[in-house]
Symmetry: C2
Subunit: 617 residues, 2 copies
């Protein structure tokens, strides 16, 4: 966290100074604005939080509800989302209040007495060290609260405008071509004109309908009874995540934050085509009764039901993620694009990555740093991610719904669960080569940072204060690219490959940086030396690129010089980085954009020439 | 963090439901109240935060300033304070914004050119693993903000009453015997009557004066020029804590939070007796000039001075910590009791322990759970702690002020620094046997938890969710005693020593717990099994004492059953706990109250009979 360089900060440094549209934010919705976000769910709120870091962009987020979300809905936080929360500054805080999944229990019918269940395998949750962050359970309402705080503390000071219903939109002309028709909480019509609209309005999205897109997929729905309960029970795994298959049906059992609450998903099976919503009338008492049959021989005496619902859902994917894929103005995210079961705990997580992806790109285009074509990469990147999600969820939910006696091998469910961990954690997304994702031609220089996948953090030592830090955790969601320069083996301070690269790269990066801005306004550039003893060199040995001058007093930034830790903790070893050095570019959304050689500084310019505008010669 | 057992909590679970005096808190100061805290510095604010957990106690905290502290003052947070912050729920958050000290650099005159300094030793900060928490630098204003948030979120909803000046007090009669004379921000006199007053009003304490106590000690003062600066510099250790001794004088150099700011203490020497405050007029320019001479050959080009001061201080200790040590009504804390140099970074830390110590005791006496004699232990415990602090600081500041050429061995300073680490971290405080600190007669049963010292946490595994947690971090500053029952080697679930102890202890603890309160309202009792594989037993194997029923639905609390980790991480090995078992009682302020054998449940009753009231037969 950096502060004090633009004047002394006495209060919470997480509250950034207001700027641009954050300075005199009106209560009323303006008639014209840059970005209209429709819906304050996970995709919408992360988009608002991200766009709050772009105060020159006039962003508004509307929500039909008159107030914040209070109850229910999603609760699974995969480790990829935790990494994202880290960039938004609240991973530790939310981890402290969430339930941390460490292992899972599988329960199956007792072979000797099939009306009882017995415990089977208990695989641990992150067997392969996919992330340094835990897999968490916490109510969606709290996730939204944290993003709301980010949006409110960002320089653009964005807060949801509650009580506004989106009706429809049509395409006009001029600078603000999208005409959005809204209604206030008294049903009075209103309209705003926007440059761009992000539809985050859920499975029944009106934004989707208004641009003529539709969901395609399953004919039939699957129904679930879900309840958040406080109970007295002798079920021994009450505070462990469980998949329970009994003769009486199956349950996904998710302990919740706070030590007492538990979420129980009771499988109600495939809905008949002529059901017409009757399944949704299943009374709570019936769900509790059904649950008790499944938990037998254990009892679950429900004392309080905080929330419950019966819902039906199919596997469906939208035909396109935007109105016009080659000149997009209206984007769809989250449940507006993809629906599926809740079983794998993916929905909220994938939705947030949708919102994160489109938001920084809109920020870059609207503040003038990137060309409009950047926006086409949204559909290119997120549609395949959604396709993979639906394929995975289909497989997983089918497996989970199959009665154990019909499985060839009862252990197949556990084995699939373990094998699928990396996907389930959100780490299998890999973007194809495009405007901002480079080729894999130099991948061998940094094999552990696959181009197109999220940057997997590792610990290094910061020279200036000898702190051991996760390199990836220095990446805040501030819209900047990161450039990690892994040095060659020369002694720090010597002229050579690194100093040549740094001198030339400094000139190149300046071409993309506006006159008058801090040197590192758009690029956060850090060097990581191979030398493992930080006493053997000084911060001042590093090239000037790594000590940019910041703030109104133009003082040096000391925090960009790092070195590897010794032994097995060495980032060069752990991530397979060449001892000749390598340059790893990470996009604002934490995905690896490129791996480049240290002897080719011009390649940096070639990479950025696609995704950014050159503003100076 | 436990919640949802008294109804669903949708918003931040750290905000507790208001109760008692927190329900209808008046804006005006009431004429009669239980506890009046004078001063909102570190001692006062921690006391307010602690008493906010006692909503049946009417507490007010007054502050002369019209608003929160904005700048300056203390900034060193020893790891003992971090442990305390953890109990108040903000250790992680404050660590994220603070500067973490990992090592220290000593600079001395270059033997070849004595007008220049050269770097000497660089000892690491916590060489001996004194605590799992870091040694932090963060502005006092932020520490106070965090405690203010705790006080405001606690059930008693305490907020400082700003703009009130304490004038004096006198002792009257009746239920509210202390008459405090105050003035509001317009100078209008007012008075309130209190049961107890805590004087947290600094070195010039009027509370101290009003009870006839005075500081005793040094005749002469030592002067310091101190400034918080943002600078351009080539001093290589700009972001490392340094003790600099040069021919031109000495500096204590403390990097500050945020990456750019640095605090510089310039030693201005012993103040002549006839100085009459002239030293305090030393101009800022002179201090900056002096600093540059000391940093030579490096330059420090100061761009912004956020705060500066010249202050003089001597080593002084109050003659007593309360008005009447045998029937105390007025207590002194922090700088009102002890003054010394800032060199060892002790002041704020020791003051907070003062405030913590008296606050929970007042809470216990005023809510009826403890006898009034408990309050006598405040002076018994904190006076020796202050004495030790002053002795340590005298030695350290003398050593730091000695020109290197006068030292027998120039490495003596570094060696002293390393040897004194445990004291400097705040961990050497050990309370003598008294009402709430037992004898050391059973110490051998748990050698690593010395009676009278703070409970040194260790990691264990919680059975119900397989989470690896620091046992000590489950101890929130909620006023409850902790009882850690380290089991004997019997298989969990077997009848024997543990089950006998638990059955009898449950009856004994009930004698001290009010009718109708949760079973664990006053005692948080946890079992730690020796078995290192949590799959070998169930939560339900533990005696009923460890599954108390909580909240309005009286549902079981699953989170009190733990087991040791394997190998070197085994708490039994790491803390020298007998394989026959041991009971460790920890006071509400995290100090070990007693170590007792597992075959003597009656000893638990004997321990609590002194510090608590028996309310049921």
């Amino acid at each position: 966290m950096q502060f004090h360089h633009n004047g002394y900060v006495s209060q919470d440094p997480r509250e950034l100074s207001p700027a641009g549209y954050g300075k005199n934010r009106t209560q009323d919705l303006p008639g014209e604005l840059d970005v209209l976000i429709v819906g304050s769910g996970p995709a919408g709120m992360i988009a608002a939080a991200q766009l709050s870091m772009f105060p020159s962009v006039n962003t508004r987020i509307i929500e039909r509800r008159p107030h914040r979300l209070e109850l229910g809905q999603a609760d699974g936080i995969q480790s990829r989302s935790m990494e994202t929360f880290q960039a938004f500054g609240f991973a530790q805080e939310i981890a402290e209040e969430g339930y941390k999944i460490t292992e899972m229990s599988f329960w199956n019918p007792d072979p000797n007495d099939r009306v009882k269940i017995v415990r089977g395998a208990r695989p641990i949750d992150d067997e392969f060290g996919i992330s340094e962050f835990p897999h968490l359970i916490v109510n969606q309402a709290r996730v939204l609260d944290y993003f709301a705080r980010c949006a409110q503390r960002g320089p653009a000071r964005i807060e949801p405008d509650y009580g506004w219903t989106f009706v429809t939109l049509e395409m006009g002309e001029g600078e603000y071509p999208v005409i959005a028709y809204l209604e206030d909480d008294a049903g009075r019509p209103s309209q705003v004109r926007a440059k761009y609209v992000i539809g985050c309005d859920g499975a029944k999205s009106r934004v989707r309908k208004s641009i003529g897109r539709c969901l395609q997929g399953d004919q039939a729905n699957h129904a679930w009874g879900v309840m958040d309960v406080v109970a007295d029970t002798d079920f021994p795994d009450w505070r462990t995540k469980c998949a329970i298959h009994s003769k009486a049906g199956s349950i996904l059992h998710i302990p919740r934050e706070g030590g007492y609450l538990c979420r129980i998903y009771v499988d109600l099976g495939v809905v008949a085509e002529d059901d017409n919503g009757k399944v949704r009338e299943t009374p709570l008492e019936e769900i509790i009764e059904r649950a008790n049959q499944i938990y037998a021989p254990y009892f679950v005496d429900v004392k309080m039901v905080a929330w419950h619902s019966v819902y039906e859902v199919g596997h469906r994917l939208v035909d396109a993620f935007a109105d016009d894929p080659s000149h997009p103005r209206v984007f769809l995210t989250g449940d507006a694009c993809h629906t599926h079961s809740a079983k794998a705990g993916q929905g909220m997580n994938v939705s947030m990555q949708d919102g994160f992806n489109i938001a920084w790109k809109l920020g870059h285009v609207l503040d003038g740093r990137a060309p409009e074509q950047l926006l086409c990469t949204y559909q290119e990147e997120r549609q395949p991610a959604a396709q993979n999600l639906i394929a995975f969820d289909k497989e997983w939910s089918t497996l989970m719904a199959t009665p154990p006696e019909e499985l060839e091998d009862p252990q197949i469910v556990e084995r699939y669960y373990v094998a699928a961990e990396e996907f389930a954690a959100g780490m299998m997304t890999q973007y194809e080569e495009n405007l901002i994702t480079g080729s894999a031609s130099n991948q061998a220089l940094a094999a552990g940072f696959p181009v197109g996948k999220r940057f997997k953090s590792h610990e290094v030592r910061r020279r200036c204060d000898a702190n051991v830090l996760h390199l990836g955790h220095q990446h805040q969601a501030d819209g900047r690219y990161r450039i990690y320069v892994f040095a060659d083996s020369a002694q720090p301070g010597q002229q050579g490959r690194l100093s040549n690269w740094a001198a030339r790269a400094r000139e190149i990066l300046a071409q993309f940086t506006p006159e008058g801005a801090d040197e590192n306004a758009y690029f956060d550039v850090k060097v990581i030396y191979q030398q493992t003893n930080h006493h053997d060199y000084e911060v001042l040995d590093a090239p000037a690129l790594f000590r940019p001058r910041n703030g109104k007093h133009s003082v040096p930034n000391w925090e960009n010089v790092f070195n590897a830790l010794p032994g097995e903790l060495d980032v060069f070893k752990a991530r397979g980085i060449s001892r000749e050095g390598a340059v790893v570019i990470v996009r604002p959304d934490q995905y690896v954009g490129a791996v480049l050689p240290l002897d080719d500084p011009a390649a940096v310019g070639e990479y950025f020439a696609k995704g950014l505008n050159r503003v100076r010669p």
